[in-house]
Each structure stands twice: as C-alpha cells, then as structure tokens.
C-alpha cells in the first residue's frame, strides 16, 4: 500500500496527465507491489468495517450495503470528461486512504506549498489544509461558532455525531433522498462509503446573520473524500453556508465523491457558497442538490479552480409555488484540467423562477465546459428561467464549450438562454499597457474583472483569495 501512495503522491500535476505508456507503468507497479489488492474490489466486508468503526445505526449499514450493490451493478456514465485515470478496479484504494496515507508535510507537492505561500496562509493552517497537520486555532473558531449558533437553536455538527443526536430520525428521513444511490455510479459509491461531513439544522424562523463555514469542520477531521453534507433550513429561516475554502486542499487519494443535500423550507433562504480548489490530481465527482418549498430560495455561489477532472452540476428542485433559485458560478480550467461544470434546475411548481449566471475561463490547454439542464415539468405554469453563460479563452490551445439542455413540458413558461465565448481583446491589453501596466498584470486585471460578478457575491476574505488565485493562475500566461 505504501507503494501505491508514493505513486500517487509523486505524480503531482504532471503525472495526472500521463500518456498511455506511463499509465501502464503504474499498472505494473500496482500489480507488483500489492497483487491481492487487484482483485479485492469493494466488498460488503469493507463496507461493514467502515460502518462498524463509526458505530452507526443499523439502517445506515443497510443503506451502505444496498448502495454497494447498486454501485457494483450500474455502469459508468459515458459522457463528459474522461476519468480513465481513476483506478476503478482498485476503488478500495480511494475508500481507505487514511489508513495507508503517510501524512507529512514533505510529501505535499511543491506547487501546492508554493500556492499556500502566495495566498499568504500561515504555516500552521497550511499543514492542516494539506491534511497533514494537527488542529490549531480553527478548532477554536469552529467551537465558538457552534456555541453562538447553538444559542439560537441551530445545530451545526459533524453528521456522524448527529446520527446519534436529537435529529437522528430527521437525518434518517432525509439522508440520500435528494441524491439516491441509484442516481449515478459515484452516488452509489458515496452511499456505500461516505464518511464525515456536516449536519446543519436551522429551526423555523431563525435567521443567522453570519455564515457557517464547513472549512473548519472539514479540516478538523482531516476528511473530505466522501463527505456528506446535510442542511435543513426550516420555514422562514435563513442561513449562509460556506463550503471549503479557496486554499488548495491536498489529498493523496485523488477521488472526491462527496454529496450535498439541502432542504429549504417555505419562505426560507439558503445561500450555499463554495470555492473548490482541490489539488490538480483530483477527480472531483461531487453531487449537490437542493429542494425548495413554497417561496423558499436557494442561492448557489460556486467557484471551481482546482482538480484534474471535475463534474459538478448543483441542482435546484423548485418544488413549491414561487420557489426561487439562483446560480452564480465560475470555472477556471488551466493546464491539464478538464472541468465540466454547470447546474441543473427543475421547475416543478407554479410561478417558480431561476436565474443562472456563469463565467468560464480556459487557459494553457485547459478545457472548460458549461453544461446545464433546465426542466419545466407540467406543473410549472407561470415559471421562468434565464441562463447566461460567458466564456473567456485565454489562448488558442484552450477550449470552452457550452452545452445547455432544456426540457420544457409546460405551456406558459419563459425560458431563455444566452451564451458568449470570447477572448481578451488586444485593444484592452494595449490600453492598460499604455498606462504602464505590465502585460501579465493587464491580462490578470481583465480576467479578474470578468470574474467580478462572482467574487462580489463572496465574503470579502474569500473574494480576495479568489482574486489571488486568478492571479496565480495567470502568472506565466504570457509568451
């Protein structure tokens, strides 16, 4: 197993784009080092072991085993970016990374250390962002956040603890109902091996005026491969939840198949912000879904910067009359990245509305695809949805695609889509340079400006980090 880890660790950015010859070398090493693993696959025993270690209720074990069956019986999706680099025959490698992961600072790739540096993240934080350190002040911040939220009746805890708590029945009722294991292969995998994640419950009418941040939660456990987030915002309540943070999250095992399930009650409001910046060997196959009841509102803010391959389409199910959804997203695909992102909306009741605004940037051979699906059910009368997506390609080697799908089964709905794909105008670069600004800085400024509609939606410190991220990505873009 140590052999496996070293291979993945050492792979870093370059090895994730290995050509066929290189990959066969990997395979050979797997064979050689750990022959028994090859035919191991994911077995009920492994799943039982996971469940046992967590001391879970029986229904959860049942759920896991059922999910495992589904996982083993359904095929991989045949659309979207290639995930050939994932070792599906040896999926167990990804499931039990903690047991064989050597966690030390030295094994973190230099480019990630460098990024921590440039983002100005303190040494102590860097190591636990990389999943190799102990918990420092963020644990304290998390606890104080938990305390003040608790005074309002809000529950904010690890979902595994919550399974033994006051809301255990509620969790049982909701868990993986928005994202059933039958949804796709990785949802099934998630159902079988999920571990860690957050549970948030906001009681009726309670409005929290500061965001809850899972950043602290995730780091506290050093988790994040298959985490499950379950948030319930009851009627008339209000919450802003921030998932992750923009500093790179380094993981030795390079598969992320988390799930996020959000329930928004009547007239309730939830804002869910994410800036994902996994290290660039990651296959990010995350699934996020939200259901909104009457006049409830979900706002997604989503930034995708990291990962080698990403599939991410947060879905809003507008189930109650006048429910609303907005999705504001940005994706930046650089060298070796193939990021397929977008969102899904189901207009499933009268007078619902959704607006989708996304920005995509591709650079250095990166591939960025916007994929959306808007479904208006026969019940959606009087609903409307607008989709606007703008892409910016920074050079001739990069690629941007827009794949909007619309399925309208209802008369009297208003659905619109607009898309533009462009480049940075030479005239703009010249203008800025004629004012003494270097070419690199000029281009960065234009790209930051392009991203501004997204960054202005973020809390300040995240917006600053996002701008820094863009700056980092833009460095060396010239020439």
């Amino acid at each position: 197993m140590a052999e496996t880890k070293t291979t993945v660790t050492a792979s870093g950015k370059k090895r994730t784009q290995v050509d066929d010859v290189d990959r066969s070398m990997y395979d050979f090493r797997y064979d050689d080092a750990d022959a028994e693993k090859l035919d191991a696959g994911l077995t009920p025993d492994i799943v039982r072991e996971i469940s046992e270690r967590k001391d879970e209720p029986a229904w959860m074990l049942e759920h896991r085993l059922k999910s495992l069956e589904i996982f083993n019986s359904i095929d991989m999706s045949d659309w979207g970016p290639s995930i050939d680099g994932l070792d599906m025959d040896n999926i167990v490698t990804y499931v039990k990374p903690n047991t064989d992961q050597k966690s030390d600072w030295e094994s973190v790739p230099d480019n990630i250390k460098d990024t921590f540096d440039r983002l100005g993240i303190p040494q102590a934080e860097r190591s636990y962002l990389a999943g190799v350190g102990a918990q420092y002040d963020s644990e304290l911040v998390y606890h104080s956040m938990q305390e003040s939220a608790a005074k309002m009746g809000i529950v904010y805890s690890g979902i595994e603890e919550a399974l033994h708590g006051e809301y255990a029945d509620l969790i049982k009722e909701k868990f993986m109902t928005l994202i059933p294991p039958t949804d796709h292969k990785f949802a099934a995998l998630h159902g079988a091996v999920w571990s860690g994640g957050s549970f948030v419950y906001v009681p009726k009418g309670v409005k929290l005026d500061y965001p809850l941040q899972s950043y602290f939660r995730l780091n506290a456990k050093g988790a994040g491969q298959f985490e499950h987030t379950l948030i319930i915002v009851e009627d008339d309540a209000d919450l802003h939840f921030i998932e992750g943070c923009s500093a790179p999250k380094y993981n030795v095992a390079n598969l992320h198949a988390g799930a996020v399930e959000l329930f928004v009650g009547k007239r309730a409001h939830l804002r869910y912000s994410t800036i994902e910046n996994w290290s660039k060997n990651m296959y990010n196959l995350n699934t996020k879904r939200c259901r909104c009841d009457e006049e409830g509102e979900i706002e997604w803010i989503s930034g995708s910067f990291g990962s080698h391959v990403g599939y991410l389409y947060p879905m809003s199910i507008l189930a109650g009359r006048k429910a609303r959804a907005s999705f504001t997203g940005i994706t930046f695909a650089g060298r070796g990245q193939n990021l397929d992102t977008g969102c899904k909306v189901v207009l499933a009741a009268k007078d619902t509305s959704a607006s989708i605004e996304t920005k995509g940037i591709s650079k250095d051979g990166g591939i960025q695809t916007f994929r959306s699906s808007v479904v208006a059910t026969p019940a959606a009368e009087g609903s409307r949805c607008s989709v606007s997506c703008q892409s910016l390609m920074l050079d001739d080697r990069s690629r941007s695609d827009t794949i909007p799908a619309m399925d309208i089964r209802c008369k009297n709905v208003d659905i619109g889509h607009e898309a533009t794909i462009g480049r940075i105008g030479d005239d703009k670069v010249f203008y800025l340079m004629s004012r003494g600004i270097s070419e690199e800085e000029a281009r960065t400024m234009i790209v930051n400006g392009f991203a501004e509609p997204i960054s202005k939606e973020l809390p300040l410190e995240y917006a600053v980090e996002m701008n820094n991220l863009i700056k980092l990505e833009m460095e060396g873009a010239i020439g």
Partner: protein, 263 residues
C-alpha cells in the same frame, strides 16, 4: 532646437498585416512645446499615435523612435508609459468588472508610486471635481456605460494623475460634443500649467486649440508627412482644407512608399 528634443522619429514606417500605413515619417517634438498633427480622414494620424505608443497591432518596418534621449522603438507600451509617454485614446476601451479607481491605482503602482489609500482617494476625488466629473464614476466599472464625454474626462484624469513628459492626444473623432471639447481643453491647460507638459495633438477640430499656443503644425496625407509649419498653418487648412496636400501625393504612393525601406 535639437538640443531639447523630447520625441524624435526618423524614417518611421509601419504596417499592419503587410499593408504599409506609415511611410518614412520624420517628426520632432521639443520639450515644452505644443504640436498639432493634422490631416484628412485615413491619413494615418491615429496610427502614428499608436505606433509611437507601441501598439503591437502595428509592425515597425523601418526607422526609429527616440524619446527623452533613448531609443524606444523596441520597448513595450508599458515601458514607454513608464518612460513618460502618454496616449489619450480616441475611443477608450471598456473593462467590465474593474472599477475605475482600482485601475488608476494599478496605473500609479505600475510606476512605483506608493500612495496611502486615503491620500489616493482624496487626490482622485479632487481631480474628478476639477474636470466636472461626478466622483461616483470612480467606483464604476472602467468605461462601461460611460458616454463619450465621460470617457474623455477619464482620459484627462489619467493625464493629470500621471503627468507624463509627453502626451499624445488623439482627438480625431469628430463625434466630440461641446462638453467633451471643453473637458479636453481644460485638461490640456491644466497639464501645461502643472508640469509644463509637452503635447502632440491629433485633431480635425481646431476649436480645442483655441486656448493653446501652438508651436508647430504637422500635416499628414496618405501615411506621409507632407508639410510642417507654424500655427498659421491651422487657419490656412481651416480655410482651404487638405486638397493641395493631397494633390502632392499620387494615389499609388499611398499604398506603397515611393522610397525603398531601408530596414
């Protein structure tokens, strides 16, 4: 006169996509003077302004540009700017998402000028007021939704903030309204007063020259420099137009230079 020449180009020829636009241009602008560059539409006046500033859309195929004693022919636009050259654009660009103030800040920092935030705000605010510009524009996205007049004000604001050694003002666009004209005039006057600025004004419209003492006038036709004279030349052109100069250039000469390029 040659002792204090700030800008000099010799035999400057430039092309865009293999089409030659500037033919063997000679030009000298001494420190502290006001020069005017005139010519009919399509004479290459704006192109000359852009080539002097280093717009990579144009390729210099002959000659050189000397500025403040140094050869800048090969310098990128940012380096030329830092050397003290400025070009006010006929049609300034729009950069969505970048607030005007952040852009101005980056511009100043690009030349190593560190200014405290408060001080910087105060300065830009004051300049905006001087130019009859609503300071609220400073927080708006650069150029986005600005009228022609507002864009001109922003150009003048940059001129006064940067105080370059030489400002090339490309005003050829006949679309300037009275308001924009007066802003440009005021900007030029202030620039002259504040730092004894040197000006090369590209224009059709002689009205903006009314309050300035023009030292020299250059006339361009079909990419050639065809005449040079004192301020009196302006009145003459106002009265007679460019016909007589156009006649001096045969139609074929516009497309390719009569003289072989030396480089």
């Amino acid at each position: 006169m040659t002792s204090n020449v700030l800008l000099r180009c010799r035999g400057l020829s430039a092309a865009v996509e293999d089409k030659q636009i500037l033919h063997d241009i000679d030009l000298q602008v001494p420190q502290g003077e006001v020069h005017v560059l005139m010519g009919p539409n399509g004479a290459g006046k704006s192109t000359l302004g852009h080539v002097l500033m280093g717009n990579p859309a144009y390729e210099v195929i002959g000659g050189d540009i000397e500025f403040d004693g140094a050869d800048i022919t090969e310098l990128t636009p940012d380096k030329r700017s830092q050397a003290g050259l400025f070009l006010s654009f006929q049609a300034p660009v729009e950069i969505p998402g970048v607030p005007l103030r952040s852009f101005l800040r980056a511009m100043m920092e690009g030349r190593g000028e560190k200014m405290k935030n408060k001080e910087f705000r105060k300065k830009t605010q004051a300049l905006a007021e001087t130019l009859d510009m609503d300071p609220a524009y400073l927080d708006r996205e650069l150029g986005v939704g600005f009228s022609g007049g507002e864009k001109k004000k922003v150009e003048m604001l940059q001129l006064l903030l940067l105080q370059p050694k030489l400002a090339i003002l490309d005003e050829t666009d006949s679309g300037l309204d009275v308001d924009a004209l007066s802003v440009v005039s005021r900007g030029m006057e202030l620039y002259r007063e504040q730092c004894d600025g040197t000006l090369l004004i590209i224009t059709h419209n002689t009205r903006i020259l009314e309050h300035l003492n023009v030292d020299r006038v250059h006339v361009m036709v079909s990419g050639h420099m065809v005449a040079e004279g004192t301020a009196e030349l302006i009145d003459e052109i106002d009265a007679q137009g460019f016909e007589r100069y156009e006649a001096s250039i045969s139609p074929s000469e516009g497309a390719h230079s009569g003289r072989p390029d030396t480089k």
